[in-house]
């Protein structure tokens, strides 16, 4: 069951962070390999020929692509340690629904916030906050989306926190001011070693975004 586990990843990727957190939560050792996305390795291209993207989880030589699929795979294979996905089918469906929602909204809206200006950026900020508020509603009074312990939705969402500072600087707004419950939840998550060690420093991410802006010629 343990076997050889390699994660092809890129340090600022919120998608890669999901798998890092899942593996850390379950205490599973693996080899982390940093990819240079301007110079993708032969291994990456061979293991993910369809998308040619990170993260790729390679287990005993076989690739699992797409972060949500990786987290489900990790949870199924190492099901006896720190379960992330609920066992009740309806609760699972609810968790999957919210992970799908996060996937449909967060990355694209976040990208618009740092890539655009003016009206487009203003609309993206507004929608981004609306999405976080919807998620706050789903969290309710729970400690985590998963209840008393970290769950699938927590793992899918918390990586975006590492990009919040960059969004706030580029968009000139405060996420905490608009969504205090969300930030309170983030802080609870960050107290867990599995999360704290899997997320890069927010300032580093911001510097990275500034570099990207230069490369893409965005002011």
């Amino acid at each position: 069951m343990a076997g050889e586990l390699v994660l092809l990843d890129f340090w600022p990727s919120p998608f890669g962070m999901r798998s890092r957190i899942a593996l850390a939560e379950k205490g599973i050792p693996y080899e982390y390999r940093e990819e240079d996305l301007r110079n993708k390795s032969d291994l990456l291209l061979q293991m993910n020929p369809v998308h040619k993207k990170i993260p790729v989880l390679i287990h005993n030589g076989k690739p699992v692509c797409e972060s949500v699929i990786q987290v489900q795979y990790i949870d199924e294979v190492w099901h006896d340690k720190a379960p992330l996905i609920p066992s009740d089918p309806y609760q699972r469906a609810v968790a999957r629904f919210w992970v799908d929602f996060i996937d449909k909204k967060m990355y694209e809206l976040g990208s618009k916030i740092w890539k655009t200006k003016g009206e487009e950026q203003a609309n993206a900020k507004k929608e981004f906050i609306e999405c976080l508020k919807l998620l706050e509603g789903e969290l309710g009074d729970k400690t985590y989306f998963g209840g008393e312990s970290l769950g699938y939705v927590d793992v899918a969402l918390v990586p975006f926190y590492s990009w919040f500072y960059a969004y706030e600087k580029c968009g000139d707004f405060s996420i905490e001011a608009e969504c205090p419950k969300m930030i309170a939840w983030v802080k609870r998550c960050m107290q867990k070693e599995s999360v704290a060690k899997s997320l890069p420093d927010q300032e580093k991410v911001y510097e990275f975004i500034l570099q990207l802006k230069k490369v893409f010629g965005i002011e």
């Binding site: 020929p49 369809v50 287990h59 076989k62 699992v64 692509c65 797409e66 699929i69 990786q70 489900q72 795979y73 199924e76 294979v77 089918p89 309806y90 699972r92 469906a93 609810v94 999957r96 629904f97 799908d100 929602f101 919807l134």
Partner: protein, 236 residues
């Protein structure tokens, strides 16, 4: 809640309802899953897009879309989420393999096809140069699906229909009638032999065959849509 609404939502533990739209491949795949597993359900046709029922909006406040499955009064939205739920609650005639790795592969292809579905319909929505680009794009997508996804298998699920087959089923339900309206055919025996064989196997499956919308009706529906896109393009 008004008394009449209370009555509507009062259900038995086992009652299954599906809110759908006759022409939608997203609700169609849920019908296929329910039928493949012999699950009894009540179907509610939604009058899209301008006259969505209060119940639909109540059951899916986030996206306000069909399909929504309601089981014992509890709603589930998003077709892939619904398919996995159905597979877990009614595990016979499984849509997903038992092996964790094989499951990850099945989920990968279901997700890939799902994500490419709307782009694959661009050739129907667009005109001129944009349409040309969309047509080329479709060839690339279908080539990837045929080579990496289906390979030499009868179905994406192997010998039996699986979750990725139900998602790719939009090819018979929507892509084929779109091709007829536009006058362009993608999946031919010489261009995509394996996908062509898949279309035959899938459409001849007894459950699928008996549960496709009326082809002529879909074509007529799409002819109106095509004119709508043509007019929008001219006015933009």
């Amino acid at each position: 809640m008004s008394p009449s609404l209370l009555h509507k939502t009062e259900t038995t533990m086992d009652e299954v309802k599906l809110f759908g739209f006759w022409a939608s491949p997203f609700s169609r795949r849920v019908i296929w899953a329910l039928k493949l597993k012999g699950v009894e359900y009540e179907y509610i046709e939604e009058d899209l897009p301008y006259n969505k029922s209060d119940l639909l909006l109540q059951y899916n406040p986030v996206h306000k879309k069909i399909p929504v499955l309601v089981h014992g009064g509890k709603p589930i939205a998003e077709s892939l989420v619904i398919l996995e739920y159905i597979d877990e609650v009614w595990p016979h005639n499984p849509l997903l393999p038992k092996d964790a790795y094989e499951r990850s592969v099945a989920r990968f292809w279901a997700k890939f096809i799902e994500e490419k579905t709307q782009p694959m319909w661009d050739f129907f929505r667009k005109f001129g140069e944009e349409q040309q680009k969309a047509i080329e794009n479709n060839y690339e997508i279908l080539r990837t699906i045929e080579e990496h996804g289906l390979g030499d298998k009868k179905f994406f699920g192997g010998d039996q229909i699986g979750i990725a087959d139900l998602v790719f089923g939009m090819v018979i339900h929507m892509l084929a009638p779109m091709e007829e309206v536009v006058g362009y055919k993608f999946i031919k025996a010489d261009s995509f032999p394996r996908l062509h064989a898949w279309v035959k196997h899938f459409s001849e499956h007894p459950v699928i065959k008996d549960n496709v919308p009326d082809y002529t009706k879909v074509v007529d529906f799409l002819k109106i849509r095509r004119e709508f896109y043509r007019n929008s393009q001219q006015n933009s």
